[in-house]
Every structure is written in C-alpha cells, then in structure tokens.
C-alpha cells in the first residue's frame, strides 16, 4: 500500500491571469511541497486563462510529479478547455468531468499495482467474510 496524504481539491479562480496566479500560488505552493501531493484543480469557475495561467498549471504539475504526486484537472469550463487545447497543454493533464471523479481516480488501484498472479476472474460470491459478517 502506498503511503500518501488526502486528495486536496482547489478551486481555480475565474480569471487565471498573472495577478491571480500569484495569489493562487501562495495557496497551492505549500501543498505542492508535501510528500506525494495529490491535488485536483476544479476549473469550473474559470472564464479566462492567459499565458501565465497556463505556465502556472504546468509548473504545478511538474512540482507534483517531482514529488511523486500528481495534479489532475476537473470540471473544466468550456473556456478553460478551449484555452488548454489552444495552448497545447490539454493532453498533458488527466482531466475529469467532476472533482469527485478526479478524487476517486487517485484512490483507484493502478493496473500495474495488481499482482501478476492474481486470478483474472471475480469470485462468484465476492468477499465471503464480509458477506457472513453482514448476515
């Protein structure tokens, strides 16, 4: 089992320009310095992003990956989606339709973490112990 902290969801400001980026970085900076940061940026409020905003997103992702963590984007507004596609950074991020979905994705067991000799089928009665306990 990997040791990691909680998943943190951050609301990205409506205008992601150089001024807002400075304020936002003050909030997100300490989180990125933790061990294995697991962060979701909720972009539902975003109405515009400029070059500084795009750069900030990439810097945050880089920092998170450096510390063996990850940064995911969720609930992208159409404006945010268009801007990320326009600046060619959309494909760098994992994106999700909602923050909940993005949070859940952190807790999903990665396919390569499964034991190679694990059975490929699902037991017919699932977890029998849990079933007995419930009954």
């Amino acid at each position: 089992m990997l040791a990691s902290g909680p998943v943190i969801v951050m609301q990205v400001p409506e205008q992601l320009n150089s001024e807002e980026v400075r304020n936002f970085l003050q909030e997100v900076g300490p989180l990125l310095e933790s061990n294995r940061p697991r962060i979701v940026f909720d972009c539902s409020q975003v109405r515009s992003i400029d070059g500084a905003g795009v750069e900030m997103l990439l810097d945050c992702l880089e920092e998170a990956l450096k510390r063996d963590g990850d940064l995911k984007l969720a609930a992208l507004s159409p404006e945010a989606e268009v801007m990320l596609e326009l600046t060619r950074v959309a494909r760098v991020f994992e994106t999700f339709s909602s923050s909940d979905e993005a949070v859940r994705s952190f807790n999903a067991i990665p396919a390569d973490a499964l034991a190679q000799d694990a059975p490929w089928y699902t037991p017919a009665f699932g977890n029998l112990g849990a079933l007995k306990q419930a009954s």
């Binding site: 320009n17 109405r47 515009s48 400029d50 159409p78 404006e79 989606e81 596609e85 326009l86 060619r88």
Partner: protein, 362 residues
C-alpha cells in the same frame, strides 16, 4: 426562371419589370432591430458577420456589388459611418466612386432609408428591393420583382424553409405617404417569396465556418477573392507563406496574410487580410479575421477569431483572450514584426508547399 444567383443577371432584359431600385441597409451591430436574428452575433467592434471580410470581401460588399452587376439602375447602401469606413479600409475601395452607391452617416440608419425611398419614388422608381445586411442569400432579384408584379401585392418578403429573410420588394406607388419604411416593413403583411437558392443566416460563428467551407468546396456561389494557386487553395495578392509552412486544401489566405515557418493551415481555414499566424501554430477548421495575430505554437481549431475575441464552434462559446502572446489585434497595414505592408506585396506562390488533398470536414 434563371439559376438562383444574386447578381450575374441583367435586369435590362426584363422589360416588364418597370423601373426598379435597391437599398442595402447595413445597420450598426448595436441596433436592436426587429429584423435582426435573436442571437445576432456581436463582434467586439459592433460589427455583424455580414460586415467583416470573409474570403476576401464582406457579404455586405458582395451584396452591393452583385446588385450593381445585376443592372439595377439605382442602388443605395445606407450604413453607419463606422461600417462605411470599414468597407473602405478593408476593401481598399470606396463604394461612392461610381456615384450609384451612396453612404450616409448616421447611427440610426432607418430615417435615411425612408428619405432615400422617397427620393427614389420621386425619381420614378416603381419597385424597390430593400435588403438588410445579415444573411448571405443567393437568389435572383429579377424573380422577386417579377413575383411582386405578378401577385399584384404591395409588398413581398423573401423566405426560406427556416423562416423570413430580411429582404423585401416594395411597390412604391402603393407605399402610404409619409410612412416610416421601417414601421411599414414591420406592420405590412407581405406575400412570401420562397428563395430556392443557398441561404446562410450568418447568425453565429458556426454559420460563418459553414459559409467559408461551402464556398471553398463549391457548395455555394460565393467565390474567394484571390487566385486558386492549387486546387482548393486560394491566395490573394500580398499573402506570404514561409517555405516550411504547409497549407492543405481547402484554404484561403487573404491579402497580406502571413504564415510563419512550421505552421499548418488546414481543413477549410481562411486567414483574412493582414492576419498573421506565428511560428509552429496549427490552424484547423478556423477563420482568422482581418488584422488578427495568432501566436506561437498554438493549436487553433473549430474557431473564429477576431483580434482578441475567440468564438469556438464546438462549444458554442465566445470569450476574449487577454494575452497578446496568444491572440492580438494588428494595426492596419502594419505587421506585428514591424514591417509596413503595401496593398500588393510579394506572393511566394512557388514556395507554398501545398497539398491538393481535399480534406474538408463538415
């Protein structure tokens, strides 16, 4: 009946039509006109799509010219000052030069329309075609005049399957004295003249893209104002394409448009006059309007951009991009790199690595 062409016919051959005239009304984008579509797109400088250059010329300008070419003895263009200036600057050509088309300066153009109508009636014009700038319509004005005469009705309005179009023919002898033309058009009960030809209402960015693609693929009669240097690739004088850029048909490059190294222009893209696409950028299925700068290393797709304004057809949204490194407005006749561009520059046609592959995505 002839082919449904707006223009390219000779009214003089139709002796039975009497004396006819036309007024083209180019309203301000600010106008809340009853004839304007509910969702009339507003560009940042208050211009509708009919007033901006598409494939080298505005729809408004094309309408006026086709009416003139049709042989109407009297054609007036009545438009606010801003738009008149646009037409002159962007097209490099003033409508006033032959004395047939008059431009009046006013924020509300309709009083001038009324005045012009009165003047035309006094000059003996019997039937008047009034077209409000907005949609692109291919039809035969002679058919509409004839329809009005045959029906014996005082007013006829063009329509298609989707509803009414802002084009009327009014019998001037039946026009009540002293009535405001606008209120007459609003309150009269016109006979419907069905337009069988191509119609594009230009109500949103998606329809602008449709018109461009339809033109480039020969689906309508609107022709790009340039030379077809390779099948499906139209280039106007003064356009420049760097050696390592690639233009894939169908595409249009307007006068003075610049495409930098390593760029890809593809899938029905039109770059209008003096627009610039900077290094390594891909422009796909998009319209870059006049004097617009598109920055370095971008992927612009399914969009119409006008200066800093971006309209995306896939999401149906419009917003401003405040970063001049991404999108910007170029000063007229001045490239972003500082070089002054003449109206006719050098076209490096031989250097354009183009493909004749027709890859239109609709």
């Amino acid at each position: 009946m002839g082919k449904p062409i707006f223009g390219f016919f000779d009214l003089k051959k139709r002796g039975s039509l009497g004396v006819v005239g036309a007024i083209v009304v180019g309203e301000s984008g600010e106008s809340k006109d009853a004839f304007a579509p509910a969702a009339l797109p507003q560009l940042s400088n208050q211009r509708g799509f009919a007033r901006v250059e598409l494939l080298g010329r505005s729809v408004l300008d094309r309408t006026v010219d086709s009416l003139k070419a049709a042989g109407l003895p009297s054609v007036s263009l009545i438009t606010p000052d801003l738009i008149t200036q646009d037409l002159i600057t962007h097209e490099g050509r003033a409508h006033k030069r032959d004395g047939k088309v008059r431009s009046l300066d006013a924020s509300d153009v309709w009083p001038d329309v009324t005045q012009e109508t009165t003047t035309m009636r006094e000059q003996g014009v019997e039937a008047l075609l009034i077209a409000v700038a907005g949609p692109y319509v291919e039809f035969h004005p002679g058919d509409m005049f004839q329809f009005q005469r045959e029906q014996g009705v005082p007013i006829v309005r063009a329509c298609d399957d989707s509803g009414d179009l802002p084009i009327w023919v009014v019998a001037l002898e039946q026009l009540p004295d002293g009535i405001e033309v606008k209120s007459y058009l609003e309150t009269a009960n016109p006979a419907a003249f069905p337009v069988a030809g191509y119609v594009n209402r230009l109500e949103n960015a998606a329809e602008v893209r449709r018109l461009v693609c339809d033109s480039l693929s020969g689906q309508c009669r609107l022709r790009p104002a340039g030379f077809e240097v390779k099948p499906g690739i139209w280039i106007a004088p003064g356009a420049q394409v760097e050696r390592n850029a690639r233009v894939v048909a169908p595409a249009f490059l307007g006068s003075g448009a610049t495409v930098a190294d390593q760029c890809l222009i593809t899938r029905g893209t039109n770059l209008e006059a003096n627009s610039q696409v900077d290094y390594g950028t891909v422009v796909e299925d998009s319209s870059v309007l006049s004097n617009t700068y598109v920055g370095i290393g971008l992927d612009l797709s399914h969009s119409v951009v006008d200066g800093i304004e971006l309209m995306n057809t896939r999401y149906g949204i419009k917003f401003n991009v405040s970063d001049p490194a991404i999108l910007g407005r170029i000063q007229e006749n001045r490239s972003r790199f500082g070089a002054t561009r003449g109206s006719i520059g050098n076209v490096e046609l031989g250097a354009v690595p183009v493909s004749s592959q027709r890859t239109m995505r609709r």
